[in-house]
């Protein structure tokens, strides 16, 4: 990936987002369920219903609706939620931090777990136990995050009730913070009582999201480590009598990191997409859980806003990974 390629990708972002917006918009307009029918109070007159339709712009032709919505979206106005009666932008702003904190914690857990597994695997290389590690990694990779969520919920929420299985924080704890990044802010402010309660609620969903991703990190990193270990420079270092940890740290690891970030980084989007169901299962108040409610309530503006939010996150993540690889790789840094 050269810098020119990154610029080309940047240029392609706006048309991709418009494509996403168009598809979602058209899709939602063929929904059989009527969002207005779900929000009218009993005894509303047909005139009231017409009034509401006009208020949300649902009486206009699709193209006209899209142009109106798109024009407002460009100015940062994503409309009002039909089911919650609030601005979509405000709703996403309030809930997004919860999802980002969860995804961040999950990524951290996954990277640490994946690295440890890869190092164990590479240490056991050529022995029978290596097959055991590889097999275990295969199983963890095959079972997706939402199944881990259900398994963890059963194991550590119900059978051995160690951790809470629902919500972002205990309702009795008074959270008076400025931002919605509760965890980051409470850590920065030194409010460890709040941080502690938050982490307790986040552990199960975060581990569920982390497990398949950690297996992926372990698999790619182990293959890259094995590759780097076989290279001449590593063999020469060994012949010169350097110890294994030293060779690993100075020669093998830095070279194995690049393919791991390049291949694994792209998959962080999978982890982010997984938050939709995992948040649902643990009743965690992020944008994923809100998205499912929005679909069930046929809340068009909210669904549109949320899918676009995910799309922006996905594209931004992919680009960040490309940049990171370009920075890590000396060949690209100077190329």
């Amino acid at each position: 990936m050269r810098w020119g390629e990154i610029i080309r990708r940047l240029v392609l972002i706006p048309p991709t987002l418009v494509g996403v917006a168009v598809i979602v918009f058209v899709l939602l307009r063929v929904v059989p369920g009527d969002p207005i029918a779900m929000m009218i109070p009993p005894g509303a007159t047909p005139a009231d219903i017409e009034h509401l339709r006009a208020f949300y712009g649902l009486d206009q032709p699709i193209l006209r609706q899209f142009i109106t919505w798109f024009g407002q979206a460009l100015r940062g106005d994503f409309g009002r939620s039909i089911s919650v009666h609030q601005s979509v932008f405000e709703l996403v702003r309030a809930r997004l931090p919860a999802t980002l904190e969860l995804a961040l914690l999950a990524t951290l857990i996954a990277v640490v777990l994946g690295m440890i597994t890869a190092l164990i695997g590479i240490r056991l290389r050529g022995r029978r136990a290596e097959l055991l590690v590889d097999g275990g990694v295969g199983v963890f990779l095959a079972i997706p995050d939402f199944l881990w969520a259900l398994i963890l919920l059963l194991l550590f929420g119900v059978l051995i009730p160690l951790l809470p299985i629902s919500g972002r924080i205990d309702p009795e704890i008074d959270v008076t913070l400025h931002s919605n990044f509760y965890l980051l802010e409470s850590l920065l402010l030194g409010r460890f009582d709040i941080a502690n309660a938050l982490v307790h609620h986040m552990i199960l969903p975060a581990v569920a999201l982390a497990l398949p991703f950690s297996a992926l990190v372990a698999r790619i990193l182990k293959a890259s480590l094995a590759d780097a270990e076989d290279q001449d420079y590593a063999q020469i270092a060994r012949a010169r009598g350097f110890s294994w940890p030293k060779i690993l740290l100075h020669e093998v690891f830095p070279n194995a990191l690049i393919p791991t970030v390049a291949l694994g980084g792209v998959q962080v989007t999978l982890l982010l997409g997984g938050t939709v169901l995992v948040e649902r299962i643990f009743s965690y108040e992020g944008i994923g859980n809100m998205a499912i409610d929005a679909v069930i309530n046929r809340d068009f503006p909210l669904i549109q806003g949320l899918i676009l939010t995910f799309a922006v996150l996905f594209i931004a993540l992919n680009l960040a990974v490309d940049l990171l690889v370009a920075l890590l790789d000396p060949r690209l840094r100077h190329g």
Binding site: G19, I292, R298, F310
Partner: protein, 295 residues
């Protein structure tokens, strides 16, 4: 690469047995798990001890038969409406297998068609397909299938459509790249030299070489399709609500997880076995069909 050369030299029959031995336990375990799943689905009316919809409120939330308070008539217990959990698990396999087979095959067919066209024509057609795939990749897949299923309405068709529309890109991306690689090979040039047209080269030369790749992807996609069906029925927008599904059973079990944890645990176990079965089968098939891709 050394043992690759040996494989070629050793001739077809011994290569076949060698591959069988290599694909070995994974292939057979995978095939066995998938085989059992398909058999259970086909023979559901014969092996299910009860009607999966038959309610018996007098014996609701019975634990499995071997625990205290269990009833020998209900081997794996009953749910909150007194329906036989074992029978519901067995009948749920029917939906899972139907979705896996149909959705994965359709997604493969569409994806392969797009991939072949993009990979062989190149130019603006490739550009257009690639941009389309870009747009698709920007969607959160789970959310997109939930929205799609909600849009089309409950039913088997809508579940299948949701999976096909979301997952065709998996095949399209791989087939496009592989078609480009294969077209650069000498044999494709040779086929052009003897006067085969583009369609002929694709059909006679390229497609057969894509088979190992596609079969592997197909097995994995079937596992994914089962998972998506579980997700949709868990959220409550899959097939009609009276059809038993693993996802629906999990959602019902989640409500009474403290009183009857086995109702949630059992469908999870079924799903894990099925998905691991399809993954092992895909892994095994890859080693079996294509020694080059052996890891």
């Amino acid at each position: 690469m050394v043992d690759l050369a040996l494989d070629r030299a050793a001739g077809p029959s011994s290569r076949w047995t060698a591959a069988l031995r290599r694909g070995g336990p994974r292939l057979w375990l995978g095939a066995a798990l998938v085989g059992v799943l398909v058999l259970v689905a086909l023979a559901a009316p014969l092996i299910a001890p009860h009607d999966p919809l038959e309610q018996d409120l007098m014996s609701a939330q019975l634990p499995p038969a071997w625990t205290s308070g269990g009833d020998a008539a209900y081997l794996l217990g009953t749910d909150s409406l007194g329906r036989c959990v074992l029978s519901r698990l067995i009948y749920s396999a029917r939906t899972a297998v139907a979705v896996a087979l149909i959705a994965a095959t359709l997604a493969a067919a569409i994806g392969i068609a797009f991939g072949l066209v993009a990979g062989s024509f190149g130019g603006w057609i490739d550009q257009l397909t690639s941009r389309l795939i870009d747009v698709w990749m920007a969607f959160p897949p789970v959310l997109l299938s939930i929205v799609l299923a909600a849009v089309i309405g409950a039913g088997l068709t809508s579940v299948i459509a949701a999976i096909v529309v979301v997952d065709w890109t998996r095949f399209a991306r791989v087939v496009r790249a592989e078609t480009m690689v294969q077209l650069k090979r000498d044999y494709a040039a040779a086929a052009r030299a003897i006067g085969l047209n583009r369609g002929g080269i694709l059909r006679l030369e390229i497609l057969p070489n894509l088979v190992p790749l596609v079969v592997t992807l197909l097995a994995v996609e079937m596992g994914i399709a089962i998972l998506v069906e579980v997700i949709l029925s868990f959220v409550g927008i899959s097939v009609a609500s009276d059809t038993p599904t693993w996802g629906g059973m999990i959602a019902e079990g989640r409500q009474i997880v403290y009183q009857a944890p086995w109702i949630m645990a059992l469908p999870i176990a079924c799903i894990i076995l099925s998905v691991i079965g399809f993954n092992l089968l895909g892994d095994g098939l890859r080693t079996l069909l294509d020694p080059v891709q052996r890891r």
